[in-house]
């Protein structure tokens, strides 16, 4: 009787183990399927010579299907994410320095808590916020690439702040003490010793934030809209612009086969870029954590 009960308990334990294993399979299936499907449908398009350099095509029914390309959307994404990075990196890094390196009686903690909460605010609301602001203050800027860059910067700021703060915290205190003991002033110590030591982590955090902004479509469809015009000068910031995520959304249900092909190619392109940056950054963060904890 006693043995029976033990056997039953073991059976339950094994059953749950198997079920837990199955959940891992179920959880990872979409990842595998997304990558697989993207390669099957997007592979042929992405590796065409003209895909990254050609302009958006007219529908196949009008002209031949020869040159399909996503150049304007790559330019638009780069321009808006670049603007967002210019705004968000200084704010995020400097705010993180305050939160991590200074005793401010709870203010630093409030800053990093706010950044944490902001990173959970839905990205569409960042778009709605920028739209709502511009519609009051400067309606001429609604539906321009500038407004898209602003919305993306609001998404990037909390991510840069949080990741920079975490990177700064991996720098051992002994380094700060050694620097101060040698008579360097605090701001020099912070910038030249602490920030430089944490630089791989900070750069990684910035890269992750950039990739996050690169993949965002929601804030862009309420601020920038979409356009096939090339992004060829600074004045292009004053008009709607194309971007990779919005291209994917706009052409997802396109009746023209070459427009749909563009979307599949863009899916694969984004997917590859994001997965590579993520895997690499994980490696850098891992190595940094090991190095820092080994050195202290």
């Amino acid at each position: 009787m006693k043995f029976d009960r033990f056997a039953r308990r073991k059976l339950l334990s094994h059953t749950i183990t198997v079920l837990a294993g199955l959940t891992v399979v179920a959880v990872l299936y979409p990842l595998v399927d997304i990558v697989y499907v993207a390669f099957v449908h997007g592979g042929g398009v992405l590796f065409q010579a003209t895909f990254l350099t050609a302009r958006n095509p007219t529908p196949c029914s009008v002209v031949s299907c020869a040159s399909v390309g996503i150049a304007p959307d790559i330019e638009g994404t780069a321009a808006m994410v670049g603007l967002a990075a210019l705004i968000s990196v200084p704010i995020g890094v400097l705010a993180a320095i305050l939160a991590s390196e200074y005793r401010t009686g709870g203010f630093g903690r409030a800053v990093s808590f706010t950044a944490d909460v902001l990173s959970g605010v839905p990205s569409i609301l960042m778009g709605a916020f920028v739209y709502g602001y511009l519609v009051i203050e400067n309606p001429a800027l609604v539906e321009t690439a500038i407004s898209g860059g602003l919305a993306l910067s609001a998404i990037m700021i909390p991510i840069v702040t949080r990741t920079t703060e975490e990177a700064l915290r991996t720098v051992p205190n002994s380094m700060r003490e050694a620097a101060i003991a040698l008579g360097i002033s605090k701001w020099k110590m912070t910038l030249r010793i602490v920030l430089v030591s944490a630089l791989p982590g900070v750069v990684t955090g910035v890269l992750l934030a950039i990739m996050r902004a690169t993949g965002e479509a929601a804030p862009l469809i309420v601020t920038v809209g979409f356009s096939n015009l090339p992004f060829d000068s600074l004045s292009a910031y004053n008009r709607p612009a194309g971007s990779l995520p919005v291209l994917i959304y706009n052409f997802a249900l396109s009746p023209y086969s070459n427009w749909l092909d563009l979307a599949w190619g863009a899916v694969l392109f984004l997917l590859i870029a994001i997965l590579i940056v993520n895997v690499l950054s994980r490696y850098v963060i891992h190595r940094m954590t090991v190095k820092m904890s080994g050195g202290s």
Binding site: L28, I97, P158, I274
Partner: protein
């Protein structure tokens, strides 16, 4: 360190007084980073303020009834938020129901069962799911999940559970249930990663105590590990919920986008975020902008409540380090 009196004043005072380095660069640097740090708090306040300011017109016209009115008719300029609030809460709730067992199961597998060499790669793979842009989930949902729902899942549900009335109406493959399933896929990595981190933080002595009493693997997990990491897991679940509530693109592409209350799980619906995405730029005038942004304010308040609650839980558990999954 010279001092005229036999009992010198405290060490730091004298040290600072004689220090040759100028202090103003330090103070200037502090003021600069203080300004940038304040700007982050200002950003959070500005988001709420802008949404409140823009909602005024709609609030004056519709009052509190806005929240419970189910009519959204741009032609008649009559707006009510109920279809979108219901759509948001319904899709998030179903997504959470689906995601919860999957996330907990995978977190338990990755912390207690999986061989050590497998934990790193599998954990990274789960976290990569969180890095995929939502428009790609939407695209995948549109071309892979929607056809599968139309051909297989929805007919099976209509056959077996049709009597409940929750699956009535035309089966297009689009709809509330499809959106919820994609949302579940998207929030699993958030819940799973935080649960895994908190489960992994359970002290070995805790597990060894249970094992030494003869507990099986599952009993150890249930008795010794889950209670210990409960608040972290709950925080992870709420963070996942927060992500589901605000998700836009993936839902937008598969939910069918109707301005009416969803009457069936396989019928079309909308959420607050899909409403904003669909109608903000193509608005019919200031009143519609105001009504849309008032819906945005509702979403902001829900999401703030969820996020602040979750982060307080996770922060308390992790001692101020915050959750790892973002």
């Amino acid at each position: 360190m010279e001092s005229p009196t036999p009992s010198p004043p405290s060490f730091p005072t004298v040290y600072l007084a004689q220090r040759p380095v100028a202090r103003w660069p330090d103070q200037l640097f502090f003021v600069v980073i203080l300004i940038f740090a304040i700007s982050i708090i200002a950003l959070a306040l500005a988001i709420v303020a802008i949404l409140v300011y823009n909602s005024q017109q709609s609030f004056r016209v519709f009052g509190w009834g806005f929240l419970v009115s189910s009519t959204w008719n741009p032609n008649a300029q009559i707006f009510g938020a109920l279809p979108f609030v219901v759509g948001t809460l319904l899709t998030s709730a179903i997504a959470l129901l689906i995601a919860l067992p999957l996330s907990l199961g995978s977190a338990i597998f990755l912390t207690t069962v999986a061989p050590r060499w497998l934990r790193g790669p599998l954990g990274t793979a789960v976290e990569l799911l969180a890095a995929i842009p939502s428009v790609i989930y939407g695209f995948w949902g549109l071309w892979i999940v929607v056809p599968f729902m139309r051909s297989t899942v929805n007919p099976a549900l209509q056959q077996s559970l049709g009597w409940t009335g929750a699956f009535s109406g035309p089966n297009t493959g689009f709809g509330v249930l499809t959106a919820s399933i994609i949302l579940a896929v998207m929030i699993v990595p958030t819940i799973s990663a935080i649960s895994r981190d908190t489960l992994a933080a359970v002290p070995a002595t805790q597990k060894e105590a249970a094992l030494s009493l003869g507990a099986t693997t599952w009993e150890t997990t249930r008795v010794a590990m889950i209670p210990y990491s409960r608040s972290g897991i709950v925080g992870g679940v709420i963070l996942g919920l927060g992500r589901a509530i605000g998700e836009t693109m993936a839902v937008l592409m598969v939910i069918g986008n109707s301005d009416k209350l969803p009457l069936s799980l396989i019928g079309n619906g909308s959420t607050i975020s899909t409403l904003i995405a669909n109608e903000l730029l193509s608005n019919t005038g200031p009143l519609q902008i105001s009504a849309i942004l008032e819906c945005g304010l509702v979403l902001m308040l829900i999401s703030l409540a969820v996020n602040v609650g979750a982060r307080l839980l996770v922060w308390r558990f992790a001692g101020g380090q915050g959750g790892k999954a973002e």
